[in-house]
Symmetry: C2
Subunit: 438 residues, 2 copies
């Protein structure tokens, strides 16, 4: 199975767990078998590999998410990086060209596209395989998944199939309706459009060449910034007469709000917390290392992260966006391809962060123009390189770096350090990267 996972943008709907750089699909809230937690992207990737160990998985995403993807899935996962955001048609065209030109997938092979963040079970991925096999038959140019509605939702578009068969031609599409209209659609046998579809590779590559002037993947990548923003639905689906839909009746949830996200939690709380026995229907997700104590609450969601603390009535939580959009703040936590960092102190002319490097990884060789830095190694073994000079480091070692000085650190074992940044104008933009010849 060739599967393209569309990994969407960032946002604050799940603040303080999601923010301008951390998208909801990277929040670790699902219990794995071994008692750890995994994110939506880790869960979906693991489920695909369970159903089809040989699946070619390609994540279509922006550059901003690359660090988090490599951190959570390892660096072997296929990624089609969009140099900038240009909506779904250019993104799917680029991923399709990537599959053909980089991964060597044949023109007649089926490709399945789906969002990276549905909350589903393994039967969903079995259905994706069926979708691909149906596309391969060539009865239609596109085969959509139609999700059996469980309630008259106003949040989804609807697909109206021509027949009640498991696989049917599509009669027509309907935009997100109001509740009453949604009920009427469902009475007519309409299905939810979850943005999941399959095609033979050639079909989308041809469409891409029709609409965009490019030679191959590398060329398309280079001119990506010049492309017009257009959705795949608008550019392709709505204009295509030969479309089929396959019904899917398994569990399918869109965990885009606090309400839906907490409903999918395996247990009411994650992290250090105490609820007294008068709490009712309370969910807590605490990413801090101090306890959250809840007493006498009903229908409340509490979430604490290095970015802030949310305490919300369950219903009200869906109105979070305008409330938190007003908050302007320093990014307090980030996953990088080499590990992660967390801001632990902000002062007038200094910033202190805790850096964790994964074993075998190093950060970029880089310098800053407008700040000095001090590394206090607190655990692990590694090697620092400062202005070309290499030196082993262990806990207790201190490395001071003046502004302009080039530096990196390589972790042999997991390595943690306290980095003190000093300067009048500390900014993540103040960074020059260099090649390292070692």
């Amino acid at each position: 199975m060739n599967i393209v996972l569309l990994s969407g943008g960032s946002g604050k709907r799940l603040w303080p767990l999601s923010n301008d750089i951390r998208s909801k699909q990277f929040i670790k809230i699902f219990r794995t078998g071994n008692g750890e937690y995994e994110s939506m992207v880790q869960r979906v990737y693991r489920q695909i590999k369970t159903v089809d160990a040989d699946a070619t998985v390609t994540i279509a995403t922006s550059k901003k998410q690359l660090s988090a993807i490599y951190n959570q899935l390892g660096e072997d996962v296929g990624v089609s990086v969009e140099p900038c955001r240009r909506d779904t048609f250019p993104a799917i065209a680029l991923a399709t060209a990537y599959l053909h030109d980089v991964k060597g997938i044949g023109l007649d092979e089926p490709v399945v596209v789906c969002p990276v963040d549905p909350y589903v079970n393994d039967d969903y991925f079995e259905a994706l395989k069926d979708l691909g096999e149906q596309a391969l038959k060539g009865e239609a140019n596109l085969v959509l998944m139609g999700i059996e509605p469980t309630y008259p939702s106003e949040k989804y578009g609807y697909i109206i199939p021509a027949t009640k068969a498991q696989t049917s031609m599509v009669d027509t599409f309907r935009e997100k309706p109001d509740k009453e209209t949604a009920g009427a659609y469902i009475a007519r046998g309409a299905l939810w459009n979850g943005g999941v579809f399959a095609y033979r590779l050639r079909y989308v590559l041809d469409k891409a060449h029709e609409l965009i002037d490019f030679t191959d993947y590398a060329d398309l990548f280079d001119k990506y910034g010049t492309l017009t923003k257009i959705s795949f639905d608008y550019a392709v689906v709505e204009k295509e007469p030969k479309i089929q839909v396959m019904r899917f009746a398994g569990e399918w949830k869109d965990l885009g709000t606090w309400n839906t996200l907490t409903e999918a939690m395996d247990e009411p709380t994650i992290g250090d917390c105490v609820l007294n026995d008068t709490c009712e229907n309370v969910n807590v997700i605490n990413e801090l290392n101090v306890p959250v104590v809840c007493m006498g609450l009903k229908d409340v969601i509490v979430s604490a992260s290095p970015e802030g603390i949310l305490v919300s009535d369950r219903e009200q939580s869906s109105y979070i966006k305008p409330v938190v959009d007003k908050i302007e703040q320093q990014i307090m936590f980030a996953e990088k391809s080499w590990g992660s960092f967390r801001v632990i102190d902000i002062n007038d002319s200094s910033l202190t962060i805790k850096v964790t490097l994964n074993p075998g990884h190093r950060m970029n060789y880089h310098s800053h123009q407008r700040r000095d830095e001090i590394w206090n190694v607190i655990s692990g073994e590694g090697t620092v390189i400062v202005d070309g000079m290499e030196q082993p480091v262990r806990p207790g070692d201190v490395i001071t770096m003046q502004a302009g000085c080039r530096h990196t650190i390589f972790a042999v074992t997991e390595l943690k350090l306290i980095e003190v940044q000093l300067g009048e104008d500390i900014s993540v933009q103040d960074k020059q990267k260099f090649e390292l010849d070692v």
Copy 2:
């Protein structure tokens, strides 16, 4: 006016703002005129000085609170330090001996004793003056303040006066009653016993000599640890026939619970927080530097500090003690006589703290047996002394100290540093203090 403020012990009733080392009277939640916040102890001290600029104020307290008292009131305040806790009779005897032997207060002068944490207005301190003047007359050996009850409380003891006059002999005392009994007491003209009373110095000093074998203040201080625990009520008040009570009808609140504390706040929230317009009767006290967002809450108290986060229904908040007593945790924040510190990272074999030294102050000259330390100076100017060697420091300077090495830092201006502690067995007990000859 000679006033002894009894500064009681620590506790978790106002967790996460109070804890094993920070008592409620040191929490800064009251707005001062200039837009800053002051604690109960700062508020009471300021009020006394407003009513009587020449008042001799002595705080009777334990050694543990000394740092916080000097930090909040300055080092000129009179303090009678109890070497260990021995209940109120020994504490008041010690403070009285201190007033006589150290402060030179005459045997016939009146002394007023009151708890450090009532929430009151200036009229209360005028009433304390009246109490002292009444004691001076010598009509009784003790003159108590009787607070006009505003409701039939089960939390206070009651004083039943002989007459309805402003000043009356006491007929009898009653222990904390149930609600119905409290109502009956009030119908008989009973008053709340707020633990406020005045006497001529000689009276309590004589009582002390009757019950304890000691020569003077220094001797009493030395043998304090051998004294029997006994309350002033039990040792003196209940056995004394010549007691008067003076009525006080002004505002008087005991801010010992989250419910009463938040009612006394000048505005609904303190610190960085956003409440949407569906919140009702919500109080937030946020001591962290990240925002608290509240949505759709009713009758809820939220408090966040470096120790943890409390989210409680207003009513339920009075049952907090058993819930938080189970929590065992590292002290994350403390006020010291020289400034303050906050734990910013906890790792397996390291602890990182942010230290703030007030201008002109220094910490003790000390060493640790089982940990190395690194100081990263991030702001201010000062001088470090390491194993007798003195050196000026400024932002960006790094000082490394091996276990066993003696060290201190003196702040010329306000000075902040990031201290990284490294060792297998980091503990606040691991500290030897030394004299410094400079």
